[in-house]
Amino acid sequence: MTRGPTLFNRISVFLGLGFLYAPIVLLVVYSFNASRLVTVWGGFSTKWYAALLKDQQMLDAIWITVRLGLISATAATVLGTLAAVALVRSGRFRGRTLFTGMLQAPLVLPEVILGLSLLLLFVAMGLQRGFWTVAVSHATMTLCYATVVIQARLVSFDRALEEAAQDLGCPPIRAFFLVTLPGIAPAVAAAWMLAFTLSLDDLVIASFTAGPGSTTLPMRIYSQVRLGVNPEINAVSTLLIAIVTLGVGIATLVQRRPKGVPRG
């Protein structure tokens, strides 16, 4: 038994976290910088946030990104739930291994490849690139994450509960909604949050599949940074960080089981 962390542990944790979070802290701090110069502290100010509110292009980008996140996360969660149920509940069916592999491939596939192939698909289909092509691409990208999260919960979900519902006169589909879904709801919510945040901070795939009028926030930030960093970018990035942190935080909270509720 060890009592608390040793000095070495403390130092390594401190260094590791420092390495991870120093740039982010710096970015957040400088978003409140009164000076126009990014690297010189000129006192506290929220004027860049005010400027942001007047920057219509930036506001458009934020709105597009949030809508994309809402739509693609919802689509990915619904499809991911169906896929997870198919994988966990239907036992062995022909092509099950292939189906599993294909669902999980995008997890390890380089984003550039995924973006490129989606682009080729849209071009081949003659689709006008725009908001909906990005939405579909994001749903595709986040579907596998959603499936993996929901599948993990469904595997440990007691099958006898569904059987008990059916035994008491409940048809299978209604039993899914009345018993299974409440049981896996935390995982479904977490999957949605994960999909939402993934969509929110995606740059690569959106760059491939977006068209005129569907520039997302990460795309806007990236293109502005190439012209030089200004504190307004720091402000909008801080907002993005806040939203993502909130999303991940909520996902963690809902996945944590309320005290006393047994597994299963």
Binding site: A160, L161, E163, A164, Q166, D167, L168, C170, P172, G264
Partner: protein, 387 residues
Amino acid sequence: MNDPARPRLNIGAIRESFAPWADPNAAPLVRFEGVYKQFGDETAVKGVSFDIYEGEFFALLGPSGCGKTTLMRMLAGFEAPDAGRVSLGGQDLAGQPPHRRPVNMMFQSYALFPHLSVEQNIGFGLSQQGLPRAEIRARVEETLALVKLEGLGRRRPHQLSGGQRQRVALARAIAPRPKMLLLDEPLAALDKKLREETQFELMRLQQTLGMTFLIVTHDQEEAMVVADRIAVMSAGEIAQIGRPAEIYETPNSRYVADFIGDVNLFEGRVTGADGTKVRLGSNDCPAGLEALEDDHLAMGSPVWLAVRPEKLKLHLDPPGETANRLSGKVVDYGYLGDWTTYVVELASGRTVRAAVANVSRLVERPIGYGDPVWLTFAPDGAVVLTR
């Protein structure tokens, strides 16, 4: 013994006259006909046929893995037989999904819905029938009272003790008033005292509701206490069906004799049979063994004699030279309070268990290790087994 023993006697007396299986005109409620079930390359159920009658308390008894749960799940609709028929009220159940079958199951794991309150759990089956809310409420209250859980309706399952959860599971299964209740090892998770009490609760409930109960258990005492009839299973087959006393007193095979209670088995060969009695020659008893048996067994055929420990009489002084007289010495004994079990080693090397009721508190000649003793039994206390 203590209080719960009383209803047992009453119910036992009432149930003596209940024997629809003996009536050739009675139609069974449930009929299994030549049912087979295969899992991969393992056959879990091998051609099982039996009937269960309306109002019966029927027990499936057997060791772990013998196919009890599988049989029950076929009745509930969660498994389909590979061959044979399962019918309810004369109708073949094949193709009927679980939610259309008028039987309810109490799961071994209870399978209570964790996100619903006790009331909602119990009302689940009723609301599936589309009953009006007021009626559901009334029936839930009534069922709560029936299983003595008044006042706990608003709790969640995880706020209950194991025994209370067990009763919620029971209440949930009986609330929709199914034609038949299936109980898969309903008492396995309870401690001994609670289990005994609950056995009487189950019997009382079955009588009050007039419902047919099918219970699966591997506890032979439990089956003996609650059931009208017991089917003893062995590796996917039914070894014997009968009233508890029939199975105990007249087992049809060494397997059943050994599975139900303690038994001493003596191996021998037929040396004489006259249609009422059979005589055996055996290494265990030089004077020969004798038992009641109306079958004419072939001379010289190998048979076994099953004698329950309590049918053996223990003597400290040699009794007269008769049949069924064994001699040996005590190698072990266990004091159980009401009984003492003596393990006696015969000259042949076989050990025999004899149970002696402790009728008196004073013992004038205590029996100890190595003491020479004699055992006898009446010819009607032994059962002749041919397999």
